[in-house]
Symmetry: C2
Subunit: 586 residues, 2 copies
C-alpha cells in the first residue's frame, strides 16, 4: 500500500498513529540537526521530520532528496513544536521511520510555487509541471465542480445528456470548419462540429424535449488572445417552450451554480433589450455592477459652432463621480488612452464640476449655462467629471463602452466577488454586409424572428428586414457574455424565407441543411436553446479574465500545443492512405 | 404556455382539472361518433377524446390530423369509460376544448412503433424519426442514467473529471489515427485521440491522483459490424495504487452502476488468470454464468491410431448436459456449425452417454472403457453429450470457446437478467509477430510487466520475453469485455527497455512519446488505470448485443452517417486554405 492518508488529512487527533504517506518533495530544510521535508500531494502538504535520533538508513535516504522527488514515507504522527497556522495540517508532523524514494526528479525548469519563476512559454512546454502549482490545480478542481453541479441541476430537471457526433459534415457559414479526411471514402471529408446546433434541433424533432451536453466544439479561426481552436460548451435545448421558459430554466441553472460553487446568491436575473444596452452602455454585454450610463448629447451640444461636434453623427459621454480633481496630466493620459487604436476615439472632451465652477476643454464654444445643462443631463454634482466622445455612432458608442469600463476599473467599481447577471434580449436578427451585399444571420440561420416582427420578416424591404428583432438572448455577467441562444424557427416556410434572405440558393440550402429542413417536415415542435461557454464560465467563477488556466492542456495563440508539439508532420504512408497531398507553400 | 403537464403525468387524481398538453399524434381512431387521439411525448401517451358534443372548430381541427402532427390541446381531465391498464395514464382521457396544430407532418416513411416496419437503412436515414420509437428512447435514457451514476460515484470518491484535448498528435502504433490538417501550419496535422492515454498519464505526473472522463475517442479502422469510428469510453487513472486498489475501486463502480441502474446486486468480482481462462474457456473473456468447462484430452485420446487426434497439437472438448438424445440430424447440423469459416473447425467428434451405453462417432478407435475414461474427465453422467474438437491449439481453443457459448445459448444457460462479472488478470505483456519479426505490446507500450517478471523483462531472451506477464486486467461480464487497463510503467529505464523490445529506435521513441518520457524525468508516481467501453457498457445494461441503438447518431458499417450524408466533398477554397490536394483515385 502506498498510503494510508493523503497529505492534506492529518490533524492533532491523529497524533501517535502510525501512517504511510506518498507525494512529492516540495522543500527540504535543515535546521541544526533537524531536517524538515514538506511532502505535497493534490490534497495538501504535510511536514516530515528527521533528526539525529532517526535511523541511519532514513537519514541517508533523506540526504538524497531533491525538489519533486516522489517518496513514500512511514512514520508516527507527532504534535509540532512550532505550529503553522497557515495550513490545515500545520499542527502535526511525521517522524520518519522509513522513507522510500519511488522516483527521482531532475531539477524542474521553474519553481512549483503559487508564484512561479517560469515564463508563460516555459510553463506551457512543461504543462505537466505547471499543473502541479496550486492556482492551476484549484482552477481545474473548480472546473470539475462546475461541471458536476451543472449536471446535477439539469438531471434533476429531467434534462437528458445525449452525446452528438464529432465526425459530422462541413457546412461552411460563419467560422471555418476543421475537417478530417476519410480514408475509406476517396476525396471526402468529415468536419468537426462548431457546435451541436443541428443535432440538438434534430433531437427536439425526435421528441427529446430537454437535452443538454457538456461538449467539445471546434472552430478554425485566426486565433486571438484567449481563443482556443477547441473549446467546451454547456449546450442545451428545450421543446414546447417560449423564451421565458428558457430564461427561467437557465437563470435557475446560473443561480444554482453560483450558490453551490461560490456560495453567491442573486435574485432573478434582470432583462435589458439590446437597444437599451447599446444606448446606455455602448455595447451588448454591459457590466451593470455600476451605473455611469452613457448619455447622448447631440441635441445639447450641436449648433454651437464647435466643428468637431457639429460634424459628428453621435456625441455622447459618461459622468465619472468624484473625478473633478483629475489633473491636466491625468486628463492627457486619458486622452491618449481613448486614442489608442483598440479604442479609436479622435479625442476627449471633459467637463470638470469643481468648487470654483464648471471647467471644460471646450469653454470657448459653450457658456457655463450650456455646460451646466450638459452636467444636468448626467445628474452630475460638484466634484464630478464628464467625459465626452464624438464621431460615427457605432464606433463612438464602442469607445464610450470601453472608457466606461476603464473608469469603472479606476474607481474600483468593478468589484471582485460581486456578480451582476443580466439577460440581454431582442437582438437584431440580421446584419447587412456591404462588401458581399448580403445579410448575415447575427446569431445563426435557425434563429426565429420575434413573433411581432414576423410579418416584416416574411415580406419586408431591406430596411424593414434590418429592423427585425431576433427571439434571441444572451446571458451576461459583469460585462462578459457567458452564454447565448434563441428560440428557433420550427416552420419550414419561415426557414425557407431565412435561407432566401441570406441569399442561399435552394440547392445550396438543400445540400447544407437539407437533413434539418427535411426533418422539419415530420412534425417539428416549437423549441429553443442556449449554449454557455464553459471555459469562460469557469474563469468567471475563478475570478480570472483568462480561460487558459481553466483548461488542462490549452493551445497557444498559434493553435499549437507546445508540450506535445502538435500539429506536426505525418508519415507519407498516412497521406497516401488518405489520398491527400500537401500543396506547395504559397 | 405550451403545456401544464406532460403526456405521462395525468392520473385519476387530476380528474376535472383543466390542463394543456403538447405532443405528437401517435394514432387517431374513430368509434361511432367518437374520435380518440393518442398524444405522445417523451414521458408517455395520453388519450384525447372528441365527440359530437364538442365544438365544431375542435372537430374540424381534429379532422385535419395525421400521424406525427404536433399539437397543443386544452381540455378537462375525465375518467375513462373503458380503462387501459397497460399505460400509467390509462384511467383518464382529455376532453378537448381547444386544439391547435403546431406543425403538420408528412406521412413518416415507417411506423413509429416499438416494432417498426422500417428497414435498418431507412431508419438510419431518418434517424430523427427512429429516435421517437420507445426502444431507442429507452436506450438513450438508460445511457444518460449510466453516465450520471458513473459521475456521481467517481465524484464521491474524489475523482476529478478533467477534459483532455481532441486536437493532439499522431503517434501511429496500433490502429490508424484520424488526422486534421492545420490551416495555419503548412503541411502539418493534428490527430484525433484514440484514447486520452498519454494525457491521463501526464495528469498523474502532474499530481491529479484520481482522474476520470467520459470521453469520445476515434479510431480509423476498417469497420466491422458493431464498430464505430467514434466511440465513448469511461477513462480513468489513479496514482499511488497497486493493481488491487484499481480492481477494488472499479469493481465498486460496476457494483454501484448495476445496483443503481438495474437494481442488480453482485458480490465482489472474482478473478481469473488469462492462462486459466484460456485453458478452461478457450478465450480471455469467459461467460461464467454457466460451467461447461473445456478439458484438454491429449493424454487420453492420443496413441490409439486415430490419425486426426494423433496429428493434432491439441484435442479438447466440452460436456453438454442432457444432450445425449441429440439426433443424427442435430449432430450433423452442429458439425456444419463448427465447420463454418467463423469457427473454423475441421470436424466434430461426439460421445453420447445414453441409457444403452456410450456411443460415439469414433467407436472404432476407442473401447467403451476408453470412452468412459474420457467421460469421467468431464464428470459426465448418463444423458450427457461430449463434443470434441482437434487441431492447432489456439484455433481449436477458440472454436471450443464458440461452441461452448453456442451450446450455452441452446441450453438456455446464458440467462437474460443474470450477470456474472469477472476480472481477468495476468495477460501476456508482448505478442510476437512473425511477419514483421517484432514484438507488439498486447495492451499498449506503457503497460508494466508483473513485478515478479521484471528481471525477465529487463534482460530476457525472446522466449523469456514471450512468457512475461503484464500487470493488466480486463473487466468481463457475461462473455463481453467491458473494460481493461493496466498498471503503467513509471520508471524511465523500464520504459526505455519497452521501446527497445518493441523495436523503436531512440529517435523514433523520442519523436512519438518524448513528451511522456521526458515528463517521467520529473517525479512520476506509480500509477495505473482502466477504460470502459461506454457504448458497450450501456448495451449490456440494456440487454442488447448491438451498441448502435445506444448511440444517438451512429454511423453505418462504412463509417458513413447516412442521415447527414457525411463524409462529403468540401469546397475547393477550403482545400486551398488547408494547402491540401486530393490525390488521384488508385
Amino acid at each position: 500500500m502506498y498510503r494510508t492518508h493523503t497529505c492534506g488529512e492529518l490533524r492533532l487527533s491523529h497524533v501517535s498513529q502510525k501512517v504511510t504517506l506518498a507525494g512529492w518533495v516540495q522543500r527540504v530544510r535543515k535546521l541544526g540537526g533537524m531536517t524538515f521535508i514538506d511532502l505535497r500531494d493534490r490534497y495538501g502538504i504535510t511536514q516530515l521530520a528527521v533528526d539525529e535520533k532517526n535511523a541511519e538508513e532514513v537519514r541517508a535516504e533523506v540526504e538524497k532528496l531533491g525538489r519533486e522527488f516522489v517518496v513514500k514515507v512511514e512514520g508516527k504522527v507527532v504534535e509540532r513544536a512550532s505550529k503553522n497556522a497557515k495550513i490545515p495540517t500545520g499542527e502535526v508532523e511525521i517522524n520518519i521511520e522509513k522513507l522510500t524514494i519511488l522516483n527521482a526528479s531532475d531539477t524542474p525548469p521553474f519553481t512549483i510555487e503559487d508564484e512561479s519563476d517560469g515564463g508563460e512559454e516555459l510553463r506551457a512546454k512543461y504543462r505537466y509541471l505547471d499543473l502541479r502549482r496550486n492556482p492551476v490545480k484549484n482552477a481545474l478542481m473548480l472546473r470539475h465542480r462546475v461541471a458536476q453541479e451543472t449536471r446535477r441541476f439539469l438531471d434533476a430537471q429531467d434534462f437528458l445528456e445525449i452525446e452528438t457526433p464529432f465526425l459530422i459534415k462541413s457546412t461552411p457559414e460563419g467560422a471555418r470548419d476543421f475537417v478530417v479526411p476519410s480514408r475509406v471514402h476517396h476525396g471526402e471529408f468529415y468536419a468537426l462540429p462548431q457546435s451541436p446546433q443541428t443535432f440538438k434541433q434534430l433531437l427536439m424533432v425526435a421528441g427529446y424535449d430537454r437535452y443538454f451536453q457538456i461538449v467539445r466544439c471546434f472552430r478554425d479561426e485566426d486565433l486571438r488572445a484567449d481563443r482556443q481552436p477547441e473549446f467546451t460548451q454547456i449546450d442545451c435545448e428545450m421543446a414546447f417552450v417560449e423564451r421565458q421558459d428558457i430564461l427561467d430554466t437557465f437563470g435557475g441553472l446560473m443561480k444554482h451554480l453560483f450558490k453551490n460553487v461560490l456560495d453567491v446568491t442573486f435574485d432573478n436575473v434582470p432583462f435589458m433589450t439590446y437597444a437599451d444596452a447599446m444606448r446606455d452602455y455602448g455595447c451588448d454585454k454591459p457590466d451593470i455592477r455600476f451605473g455611469m450610463k452613457i448619455k447622448e448629447l447631440n441635441q445639447l451640444v450641436q449648433g454651437k459652432n464647435f466643428a468637431v461636434f457639429d460634424s459628428a453623427a453621435y456625441i455622447g459621454g459618461i459622468c465619472a463621480e468624484g473625478c473633478a480633481d483629475y489633473t491636466r496630466k491625468q486628463l492627457d493620459e486619458l486622452t491618449e488612452w481613448v486614442k489608442r487604436p483598440q479604442i479609436g476615439a479622435k479625442g476627449l472632451v471633459y467637463i470638470r464640476l469643481t468648487a470654483e465652477g464648471v471647467k471644460s476643454s471646450v469653454d470657448k464654444f459653450y457658456t457655463p449655462e450650456e455646460l451646466q445643462k450638459i452636467a444636468a443631463e448626467f445628474g452630475a454634482k460638484q466634484g464630478d467629471l464628464i467625459l465626452i466622445l464624438a464621431g460615427a455612432k457605432k464606433q463612438t458608442l464602442n469607445a464610450l463602452c470601453e472608457l466606461r469600463l476603464e473608469m469603472g476599473n479606476r474607481l474600483g467599481l468593478r468589484k471582485r466577488g460581486e456578480f451582476a447577471p443580466l439577460w440581454v434580449i431582442d437582438f437584431p436578427l440580421l446584419e447587412w454586409d456591404d462588401e458581399t451585399q448580403r445579410f448575415y444571420a447575427m446569431h445563426h440561420p435557425f434563429t426565429s424572428p420575434q413573433p411581432e416582427d414576423m410579418a416584416k420578416f416574411m415580406s419586408g424591404t431591406k430596411e424593414e428586414l434590418e429592423a427585425v428583432r431576433a427571439n434571441a438572448y444572451d446571458f451576461v455577467m459583469n460585462g462578459v457574455e457567458l452564454g447565448g441562444g434563441s428560440i428557433r424557427i420550427f416552420d419550414a416556410k419561415i426557414q425557407q424565407q431565412m435561407f432566401k434572405v441570406l441569399g442561399f440558393s435552394a440547392e445550396d440550402a438543400e445540400s447544407r441543411f437539407g437533413f434539418l429542413t427535411n426533418a422539419f417536415k415530420f412534425g417539428a415542435p416549437p423549441h429553443g436553446g442556449i449554449a454557455f461557454g464553459f471555459d469562460r464560465l469557469c474563469a468567471m467563477f475563478g475570478g480570472s479574465d483568462s480561460i487558459r488556466d481553466y483548461i488542462a492542456f490549452p493551445k497557444n495563440n498559434a493553435g499549437r500545443d507546445v508540450m506535445i508539439d502538435s500539429p506536426s508532420q505525418i508519415d507519407d504512408t498516412q497521406l497516401k492512405e488518405l489520398s491527400i497531398e500537401i500543396a506547395k507553400e504559397k
